[in-house]
Symmetry: C2
Subunit: 450 residues, 2 copies
């Protein structure tokens, strides 16, 4: 990634050239830029100039640029592109990316574009699969070999077939019925004696996925076994396509961002400079939900207004009892959510996890409960206030541990993403229960507190 400043300078230079109508120089400049950097530049271009910029690129150049653009900008470009030109560009994109574009078009339009594409035969079958599944990520452009070929013959076949770079790393051996029998990597093909039949160098134990497998699980599988590509096969082991590591690497980064955003109640597609309208639409609903809950906590305090009226001092420790336990709960929830995302914890581990987090909660509770109790006692000169505050914090720490484990695990069990509001739900729980326990105890012992 070129630095921010470089991109800004380059963008200005391109804009100057486009305004000056010095097309030849503009083409020269632009064609020397890596498509990944072209994409960074493109989003910074004055929207009026984007069409002019696209005109500088060949169909292939446009295809590479589109592969690197974010979804929103890509959609902007595609909407304005004549349908015949779009078909030419899609022909030059990776199958799986072309399928992503077609999925976003209205079905009748997608069919019309597809009809004009030379790679329609490869791309159309991909459209059956959901975008976020293994099937939706795969490309059909794999290289298939026959097991009776020799290594030297396979090399000659590759020389004729000229596969794309990312599709050439693994070569798949299929039987006559198109079933996956083995896999050879390019390096093994080169290293082997030229006369060796493929059958003798291929690996027969192949790690593969079904087309319906979730993209995050596929990514974890690839990472677990440190592979460069995963074959996608159906129930009869027919090879449907392959997913390359670079696509799955992106999935891992995206899913990590989504987990963080879900924990904090932020829209998963938001980024720092999302338009204000989008940010409002994505953040307000969750805050509204939180507000409703906050009134429940307020109602608890309201219930004990009489106690606060008698001893205003009680109010001083309310936020601490709720907040300290709330933070402890977020610690627990964060670890549980992330460990589930990394596949280290399953729903069945709930008992083991609860045992550990209760122990942690008890330790946190004793430590901070004692500290709060002693400070409250010495500060306000009332031992009973110290006991009430300390005990309430201790108990609320156990509530926090329970919520931190059960909220994400329950969300997972009922089919939601465990990160969904897990952290914040725990805060609401510790607010509500914290006030109830603390003010309840204070009310019971109100005669000792005055």
């Amino acid at each position: 990634m070129t630095s921010e400043q470089d991109v800004a300078t380059l963008t200005r230079r391109v804009e100057e050239l486009l305004e000056g109508n010095t097309v030849k120089e503009a083409v020269e400049l632009v064609s020397g830029i890596h498509p990944a950097d072209q994409a960074d530049l493109f989003v910074r271009l004055d929207p009026d100039m984007r069409q002019a910029f696209l005109a500088l690129l060949s169909s292939e150049g446009q295809a590479h640029l589109l592969e690197h653009l974010d979804e929103d900008t890509r959609w902007d470009v595609i909407e304005k592109m004549p349908r015949a030109a779009l078909a030419r560009v899609l022909d030059r994109m990776d199958n799986d990316e072309a399928a992503d574009v077609l999925r976003d078009l209205p079905p009748s339009e997608a069919a019309r574009v597809l009809a004009n594409m030379n790679t329609a035969f490869e791309v159309a079958p991909l459209l059956e699969h959901a975008e976020e599944s293994a099937g939706g990520l795969m490309t059909r452009g794999y290289v298939a070999l026959h097991k009776a070929m020799t290594a030297a013959e396979a090399v000659i076949y590759l020389r004729v077939r000229k596969p794309f770079a990312e599709e050439a790393y693994y070569l798949y051996v299929l039987d006559p019925a198109n079933r996956l029998e083995g896999v050879v990597n390019l390096r093994e093909l080169i290293v082997a004696d030229p006369d060796t039949p493929i059958e003798q160098i291929m690996a027969r134990e192949i790690i593969s996925v079904a087309p319906g497998m979730d993209q995050e699980e596929s990514a974890r599988l690839l990472q677990h076994y440190r592979l460069r590509a995963l074959p996608v096969v159906d129930e009869s082991r027919n090879l449907l396509g392959i997913i390359t590591a670079d696509d799955l690497m992106e999935v891992l980064t995206e899913e990590a961002t989504e987990d963080m955003y879900r924990m904090a109640g932020v829209g998963v597609k938001e980024w720092a400079f999302s338009p204000l309208r989008d940010s409002v639409a994505r953040r307000i609903p969750w805050l509204s939900f939180n507000m409703v809950w906050a009134f429940a906590a307020a109602a608890v305090i309201n219930l004990f207004e009489g106690t606060i009226d008698k001893i205003a001092t009680v109010a001083i420790f309310m936020p601490m009892i709720a907040g300290q336990a709330g933070n402890a709960g977020i610690q627990t929830a964060t670890i549980v959510v992330r460990s589930m995302a990394l596949g280290e914890v399953e729903v069945g581990d709930v008992g083991k996890l609860l045992a550990k987090e209760w122990a942690m909660g008890a330790i946190k509770g004793v430590l901070f409960g004692l500290a709060l109790g002693l400070i409250a006692w010495t500060w306000k000169g009332n031992a009973v206030l110290g006991i009430v505050a300390g005990l309430a914090l201790f108990l609320n720490m156990l509530v926090a541990a329970t919520g931190g484990v059960l909220v994400p695990m329950t969300l997972r069990r009922i089919g939601f993403d465990p990160a969904t509001i897990a952290g914040v739900f725990d805060t609401m729980l510790t607010d509500f229960m914290g006030f109830l326990i603390y003010l309840g105890l204070a009310t019971l012992l109100v005669s000792q507190l005055t």
Copy 2:
């Protein structure tokens, strides 16, 4: 990744075989398991049986197992291994992983092990670099070609040289002084006419990193340009080593976890079943820090105890004003932290970001301030209380937006990780300021509230 159940069953089966002294069957069973799954099994084994399990594996098998183990378990194994055996195992590991192991040993021991290694010449130079830098991730086992070779000659050279699979994807062309001149990928070598000189097929524009570059930045570079490996070069463009994509993919996942954990104040190396002792050591310090701050917030409430004593009702809305703004601040901080981690936002963007988040804060403030004000008014029948509560929430939303932007950006500027306690620091800020603004306003208008 084999499912949890499969691993559990397999573990029991291995334990039975080891107890029954049926070594031959145990070797057969174990050698059929992928090293990544062996690692999952190994951590579940009864500690007494781990030595017996290791004895089933060849040096090469042990090397592969170690590459897949988590750091703590790996360290356990290495500590107990005789030094001569360790040298043989390290010879069979990837250079960069072998260097990681040696870095963890006391220097005198590392030197002794290194003296027994055949790959000492390749591994020793890696020890100069910090573990979390590009230099610390690189391997020396790259394949170097000369530009005057033909494609066919290069293939013959590869056949003799037999590089590891992950090191064979890109082939590097060096000049006589070992400076990086070009790069060819294996696929291009195959596809080219056999008589073409390497010079004609190599790419001259090479994306490379310096050995001191941070591992996360290196990972983002690799992802940005969708590469399989990154060459590491010094100032004079000498090729020092290469970093392969699988190592950087792991970095991305780890860094995402670390960001989440830092936001929540959890130790970065913790996972769900970390020993209780470790969890205590990693979570308590941060909660203690939070506790000190919570007393600052308590002191603010204490300052206004007289007001609460006069109108206990005021206490009911305290947690809502602090909490609702706190959550809004966490939304902002999360987006800022993650956008910085993904390289979408730089320190220089602070003005632009503040403008956006202040606008968001104002919108959140007007919406929720109005809602709270109206509800407080109708619930408690006091219009002034409604105005005080609503206005306080509005102002605290602006505090939250400011903190959400400035806290992570300041942390980055002074050289800390922006995720460090960013979320929670914001909560402390909104607690403190929320109580100050709300109770301050209530005290000013106390005559109107009774």
